[in-house]
Structure formats: C-alpha cells, structure tokens
C-alpha cells in the first residue's frame, strides 16, 4: 500500500466513501466489471471506437478529445445477481446437494467530468468500479462449502485523471493516471476431523477484514483513429495492479462439545483476538479494441477485450503469530488464464431527442475448473442489452440501459481442487442510470 502524498490520501478518502456506498458483484469475466456508463452498457460494451461520453475514461480515454463543453455525468449501476449450486455426480458435497447465494443488490456509482482546456484538448476526472466481487452463501453455518468460503466481498474503485487530445481530425489520444482503491473481506470456517465422532467438526469461524483500503496507481490510455468519414477504430488499455491488504482476522471458537478437543484447538489458534493478516491480490491489465461504422443516425461497433488474468495465479493469506500461536497460511491456487470477450452494439438516433441502443456480449471465463469454488464461481456468459437516451432541455440527457447477463452453467467437471464438485447457475441483471449535462 502506498500513502506517499496528500493527493493519494485525498483520493483514498473519496474512493473509500464510494466503496462504503456500494459492494459490486463481478459481472464481467473473473471479477472485473465492464459497465461504467449507460450508453456503453446499452451497446453491450462495444464502445471503444465510438466512445464519446464521460465513460470514455474507462472505455477509451481518447474519446473525450473533441468535447467542446464542460460536461458532467453521474450515474449508478444496479446489479442484481442470482446464483445457485447443485452437486454433480461426485462424492462431495454429493449428487443433488443444493445451495443458494443470498440475494443482494449492488449499486456502484460512476461520475465523470470533462473540461476543454484548449481546442481539442480535454482534461477529465472520473470514478468507476473496474473490479468487484461478492459471494454470500445462504445458511452459512450448514453450507457444505463453508470450509472454503461463506462470504467474500471485494471492491475496487478507480479514480482517474486523464488528458485527451485530437491531433488531427482523424487521430485522438488520451492518457492519465488511475488511483485504484480497494478492500477485501472473507468469512469461512475452519474444520477438522473430530477424533471422537470420526467426522468433520467446525472448530473456528474466521472473519478476515482489511484495515482501511489498499491504494495503488496505474494508468489508462487510448487512441481513436478515423480512417474514413464512416469508420473509426479504437484501442485502449488499463494497467494492472497488485494490491496488498493488511488487516486482521478474528478467529471465533466453535465448540465441538468435547472440552479437551476445544482446548487443543485453543492451544493451536489465537482465538477471539485480532490476528494480523496480509494478502495480495493481482488485478489484471485489460486491452480493448473496436471498429465502428457511423451513418448519420446509426453507429454500429464490434469490439473485443483481452484481459491478462494470468497474473491471478495464487492468493496467500499470511497470518502473524500471536502469543506464540501461528495460524497456518491459507494458500489459494487459482492459475487463471488470459481471456477474451466479444461485443457487438449499435446506437440509433431515432429522433433529435431520443436514441436507443442494442448490444450483445460474449465473455469468456479465465477460471479453470479446478479453481471454481464457493469463493468465486466464474463462468462464460452471454449478455443482451438495450438502452435509451432522452434529451432533456438543450444540453442534458437521461439515459437508461439494461443488460441481462446469462452465465453459462458452470460445472467443475469433477476437477475442483478441493473436491467440491457441482454446477453453478448464475444470472445477473444490470440496470444503469445516468444523467448527463453540459455547460
């Protein structure tokens, strides 16, 4: 974690306030979130070559180069995921075993402001959530995956400052630093073989919470090229960060009903006290590219993204000793692979005051079967989107879009590394609301 200057601290405070307001769930592959604006979401995220509003800070920083007014955009994405698990034909947790996640609604906000500082030169400040994850299983005390995870919350917020410039009428570029702020929470039980019952027993409930927020800096950059009047190309990039979290774990004793076994556990684990813990998560770099066709009223774009998930290979929770007792490190092997997503979208300016979007997206999971677990059950997904924009007054607009994201059934195919084998079914609905204005 870096807290080297006041700017970072200010950013961290602002980001922290936003983090407290929302706990996003992963809705793009892995734990990334690709929905930073209504129009872009309505186009299925195919908004790289045609990016032209505040959300360009995420989709393509070059997109604001020709903005000629002070403009602002504020919005929120309502994310409602539904997820369940059913045991496969495997020895654990057993054929037909069913579990569901708690129904939650998340509302990560976004805010962008852009100001021209010279002709075809804009400076922008904005916030969005590039990554997030929340899995919370119902009946956590009896959930059969409780030794892997009962609940995890991961939030990452991005605060960007960018400059975009159009050098010619066909070439624009944008670049700027991004402050990434995040925190993580994890709840799980520790179990053991109970020698008395010769069966599993829960012995400890662990509540792991980060102290404050991890902050790191990376950058985003993009380029837009218009080789012809009707064609534009876009390419953008956001860098990766490794965020280290320092926090504490509180280990609560769960009685087995056998005092001497409980005492043996207490002799091994520091219970009911703060145990310092540290972990590092790797957030990947992402490349986005698109090609768009523009008619007078119609824009159609095909885009692809490439996310360097290979960096997410292992997570280690390292605990510090307390009173001579050492909680063993929790090592989670992930071994993810880089992944692609493909997006196709259109925007149609139906009237002077009304436009609408349609889009479709296919997102490839980076997660191998072995890592699919209650902690993070990822899957390929296909999404269908629709969006609307209504002009209000001379320089303002209200935008609304909805993305129905169908996760493909994800079976562990008997390969799960902890033998927690089954099939996850997930659906997520994302509704984005934005208000835009220019001065």
């Amino acid at each position: 974690m870096r807290n080297s200057n006041g700017w970072l601290r200010l950013g961290a405070v602002a980001a922290g306030m936003a983090l407290l307001a929302a706990a996003p769930a992963a809705v793009a592959a892995g734990f990334s979130i690709f929905e930073a604006g209504s129009k872009a979401t309505g186009m299925g995220g195919a908004f790289i070559a045609s990016a032209d509003d505040g959300s360009s800070m995420f989709y393509n920083p070059a997109g604001l180069a020709t903005n000629d007014k002070l403009s602002a955009s504020v919005g929120v994405t309502l994310i409602a995921p539904f997820s369940s698990f059913k045991g496969d034909d495997a020895s654990y947790p057993g054929y037909g075993y069913e579990a569901t996640q708690k129904r939650q609604v998340f509302f990560p906000p976004n805010f962008f402001v852009s100001m021209p500082v010279a002709k075809n030169v804009n400076v922008s400040l904005g916030t969005w959530f590039p990554n997030g994850l929340s899995t919370a299983w119902d009946n956590p005390d009896t959930f059969k995956g409780r030794f892997l995870s009962q609940r995890v919350d991961l939030k990452q917020y991005s605060l960007g400052l960018q400059i975009a410039a159009a050098f010619t009428d066909w070439l624009s570029v944008g670049v700027g630093p991004e402050l990434r702020v995040s925190d993580v929470k994890l709840q799980k039980n520790f179990g053991t073989i109970n020698p008395y019952s010769q069966a599993f027993s829960d012995v400890v409930h662990a509540d792991i919470v980060g102290d404050g927020f991890a902050t790191d800096v990376t950058f985003g950059a993009g380029i837009q090229i218009k080789p012809t009047e009707n064609i534009s190309l876009g390419l953008s990039y956001h860098g990766h960060v490794d965020q280290t979290y320092k926090g504490s774990a509180v280990l609560y004793s769960i009685s087995t009903g056998h005092p001497d076994l409980d005492a043996a556990v207490a002799a091994k684990y520091p219970l009911n006290t703060n145990v310092p813990v540290q972990t590092t998560l790797q957030f990947p770099a992402i490349w986005m590219g698109g090609i768009a066709y523009h008619d007078c009223k119609l824009t159609v774009e095909a885009a692809a993204t490439y996310t360097e998930w290979k960096v997410f290979n292992e997570t280690v929770f390292a605990f510090s000793p307390v009173d001579g007792k050492q909680v063993p490190s929790q090592v989670l092997s992930h071994n993810w692979v880089n992944s692609w997503s493909y997006r196709l979208g259109m925007n149609f300016q139906a009237t002077e005051k009304f436009n609408f979007q349609l889009g479709i997206v296919y997102d490839q999971t980076p997660q191998p079967d072995a890592d699919v677990s209650p902690l993070l059950p990822d899957a390929n997904r296909t999404g269908y989107s629709v969006g609307f924009g209504f002009k209000v007054g001379k320089n303002s607009a209200i935008e609304f879009s909805n993305l129905a994201l169908f996760f493909h059934d994800r079976s562990t195919n008997g390969q799960q590394k902890d033998n927690y084998n089954g099939t996850y079914k997930t659906y997520a609905n994302l509704t984005v609301l934005n208000f835009k204005t220019a001065f």
């Binding site: 075993y97 599993f200 005092p259």
Partner: protein, 488 residues
C-alpha cells in the same frame, strides 16, 4: 433372404456393441467376500453403525441394489471402542450385540468375516465356540458356498489381508505361522475364483482387490522408530550414526533397531514402562548420570515376537528385515491375485495402489483433508488397522470410479457428505463428551497409550498372548518418562 440375414446379424452385432455400458455392471445380486475390511469391522467390533457403511454396502447403495448384511445391533460384538479423551483413552462397550436379521431366507450379500484368511473362505463353516463367523454363515456352509447359492451377478473379493497382517500385529514373522505360504494362498485363492466363475456361468463379472501394504497403516507408523523418551528426538553426536536420531533398542541384539524397522501401536504398553532406552542416548542428551532413566537404559530392549513352549509371544518391534519379508509376501500375494484374475477373467481393483496414494496425498473434501494419521486423519479407526465409516466410504467411492472406468459404467458416485459430517449414515452412536485432561490434550500428538488401553488393542488383533517379559514387577522402577510439554 441371405442379404436380409446378413444385415440383421450386422444390426444385432451393432446393437450388442451399443448396449449401454452401465448394463455391464449388474449389481442386482452383488456378493462381497472377504475379511474384517469387508465385514465393516470398525473400532474393534462389528456393529450396525459400522456395517451399514461397509465398502460393499456403500457401492450397492449407489445403484439402489438390495444388499443384505449380517447386521449386529448396538452395542455390537467384539467390544466397540469409544474415545473418552484425547490422551487418548478409550472405553469399550460390552460385547453383547445380537444379530438383527438372522432369519433372512437367503445368504447375506456381504459374506465378509472378520479374521478370515483366504483358506477360511473355502473351508470354514463356523466358530468353536460360537463367534462372529456364525453370525455371518449361520451354519449354511462356507462363505464361498453361500456366495454360489446367491448366483451372483457381480462379486468383489478382498481377502488375504490376514494372511500377512498377523505378522505385523504380533511382531512375529515366521513363514507358515504368521505368514501364509505363497503356494497355499494361491491354491485357496484359485479355488475361490474358479468356483465363482463357474457360478456365474463363466462370465466372471466382478473385481478382485489387492492387499495394501501393512507397513503403511497407522498401527505400524504412529509410533516412530526413534526414541522420544525425553519428548523430542535425540541425535547421535558421534560415530557412524552422527546426526541421526537415536532409535529404540531391540531385543535381537540389545542395540538400536535398524532404520526400516517398525514399532507397532501396541508397543506403547512397554515403552511406557521404560523399554527401549539406550544409555548412549541419555549421554548424548546430557541426561544426569543418576537420573531415574539410567536404571532402565540398555536393560529392557523392545522384545521381538517369538514362539515359545508357552505359545506365541507378542513382540513390540518388527525388525527391518522382517518388514521386508512381510512386504515381499504381500507383493507376492498381489502378483498371484492379478495373475489369477487374468486367468479367470476378473478385473483387478488395485486397492494397494489406492491406499498408497491416500497415504501420500490424502483426500480433500471441501477444504478438509483426510489422511491416514492415527485419530486425527479420519481414514482409520481406533485400532489403527481398520477403516472408519469415512475410510470404507472412500474405498467405495474409489471402487465406483474404477467400475465406471473399467466397465464404462455410469454408477453414481457415493455421496460421502453424510458420513463426513455425521461419522456414519446411522447417526447417534457417539458418546457425549469425554474425560477432560488439558495436560494430556496438550501432549496429544506425542502421548502414548496406557497399558490398559493397549490390552484392549491387543484383544482387537486376535489370540496373540501378551509377552511375559513386559511385566515390571520386581524389575527396575518405572521412571517418569516424559515431562509435560508446554504450549504444544
């Protein structure tokens, strides 16, 4: 017409090939032959709550087959052990269980009998006096004969463990006494397979199971060969063994037992009385010249088992050369099992390899790893030889996977979670709480067993007499061996 017949034959042949693979394993009349591991023997006894999850019962349950077992009601037969503290201490239930379905008109599907050797399957028809065999066979002939009566559609044969296990548990390794001669083993085994094959009309539908290495079970591995009398290993300071840990002394030559030897679980009885301590170890440990352990060192080596005029004498060390003898004989048995299986058309489920893999890698279920460690591992019961319900269910799961792979079957893998979370599928048998002794608990990993508990364990392993020499009456005073280790 000729073409029609040719086409019809071709279609029939194609259909025969296309018969669903699962149909190739017909568990309608599944019969299991074997010993205690088939019987469902657990924690020193035969009782319903162990039997219902015998490996063959779990396999049969996976397909919903009607599978009858010689169930014994609580409190079981043989003296069921219950853990009463982590010291560990055990209590033993009275051996007064009664058969629950003795009037079953047909032979039981599970014809495994605790204590059986391979020859017993072929020849034994009952016990004198009445014993466990009678609860299974009910005077209706040998286990093999009753298997034939059932006209089995599928058989599993896991027999031979007691043809070499006794050498390890008694620490008496004598060919023809505690080790069944290879030729005799092979002859009996061949009779079993030949008879079963004939009973199945030559189809030979079933599996034979190899014999795990008894040098890898917790009975053999829990007590280390190095001397931890002082609570920690003491290392040689000089000489040929410099840097290596001091080992227990053994009765063969009064010197340290060689590496590769094994000290069985039952040795705890004599170790707790001061046996096996080398004076050189005390020297290297800087132990006081007048300390109480000096009285015992070099005087009471761990006794090796033997046969005397008084009968077999229980030993407490299996020397390395004898370990090799046991392992060699086991390997020979397994080679014969594989070769006979090939001759008679049965498939080989390599239980020995499965067990070795479990020893090496354990089995992780949802974040908890089972291992073969004594008490804490979950796979083995209190006697260190037989499985827990979890252990038997894991074997069943492995067998189902084997059948699916070997026959192209589609048998549902058993759901282990009920057993993993409840201990068995019967429920309700475990004692409430135990004797709490925090000091003992803290010494859990390194503690030894009391002589009384060891006597109980000895009973589990059959009619091997206690070694007369282990009595310390009139011998050197028993020293206080191990200090309490703080903060373990």
């Amino acid at each position: 017409m000729k073409n029609f017949a040719k086409t019809s034959l071709s279609l029939l042949a194609a259909l025969a090939i296309a018969v669903p693979a699962a149909a190739q394993v017909d568990l309608t009349r599944y019969v299991a032959l074997g010993d205690s591991l088939t019987h469902g023997y657990m924690n020193g006894c035969v009782v319903k709550y162990g039997q219902v999850d015998s490996y063959s019962a779990v396999v049969a349950r996976s397909v919903g087959a009607n599978y009858q077992q010689p169930l014994i009601d609580d409190p079981g037969l043989g003296g069921c052990q219950l853990l009463t503290s982590l010291a560990p201490t055990f209590s033993v239930k009275p051996s007064t269980g009664k058969p629950m379905n003795a009037t079953l008109a047909t032979p039981y599907n599970n014809l495994g009998v605790a204590g059986y050797k391979v020859a017993d399957v072929v020849t034994k028809t009952g016990d004198t006096p009445v014993g466990l065999t009678d609860t299974v066979l009910r005077g209706q002939g040998t286990a093999l004969a009753q298997a034939v009566k059932l006209a089995p559609t599928f058989v599993s044969v896991w027999i031979g463990n007691n043809d070499e296990l006794g050498a390890m548990t008694s620490a008496i390794v004598i060919d023809g006494v505690t080790l069944t001669p290879r030729a005799a083993f092979k002859a009996s085994y061949e009779t079993i397979l030949k008879t079963l094959q004939a009973a199945q009309g030559g189809k030979a539908s079933g599996v034979v199971m190899t014999l795990p290495d008894v040098a890898m079970i917790p009975f053999s591995t829990t007590i280390p060969i190095y001397n931890i009398t002082l609570g920690v290993p003491i290392f040689h300071k000089s000489g040929a063994y410099a840097g290596t840990p001091w080992r227990w002394t053994g009765s063969r030559d009064g010197k340290e037992i060689p590496f590769g030897s094994l000290v069985p679980l039952t040795a705890s009885a004599v170790i707790s009385k001061g046996y096996g301590i080398a004076c050189g170890m005390l020297d290297d440990a800087g132990y006081p010249a007048t300390g109480p352990l000096r009285a015992a060192c070099d005087k009471l080596p761990l006794p090796e088992g033997s046969i005397t005029a008084a009968g077999p004498q229980q030993g407490f060390v299996v020397y390395a050369d004898n370990v090799v003898k046991i392992q060699t004989r086991t390997a020979e048995f397994n080679a014969d099992i594989a070769s006979l299986a090939a001759t008679y058309g049965y498939k080989v489920f390599d239980t020995a390899a499965v067990f070795a893999d479990i020893v090496k890698n354990g089995r992780n279920y949802g974040g908890i790893t089972l291992s073969t460690a004594y008490l804490q591992g979950g796979f083995f019961g209190f006697d260190g030889v037989h499985g827990t319900s979890i252990g038997y269910a894991v074997i069943a799961d492995e067998m189902v996977q084997f059948l699916n792979a070997a026959y192209g079957a589609q048998i549902h893998r058993p759901d282990l979670s009920a057993i993993l979370f409840n201990g068995n599928t019967s429920g309700g048998w475990f004692p409430n709480g135990g004797v709490t002794n925090i000091g003992d608990t803290l010494n859990f990993a390194a503690a030894y067993w009391t002589p009384e508990n060891t006597e109980g364990l000895l009973k589990v392993f059959g009619p091997v007499q206690g070694h007369p020499a282990i009595s310390t009456d009139g011998e050197v005073p028993v020293p206080q061996l191990r200090p309490v280790i703080e903060n373990q």
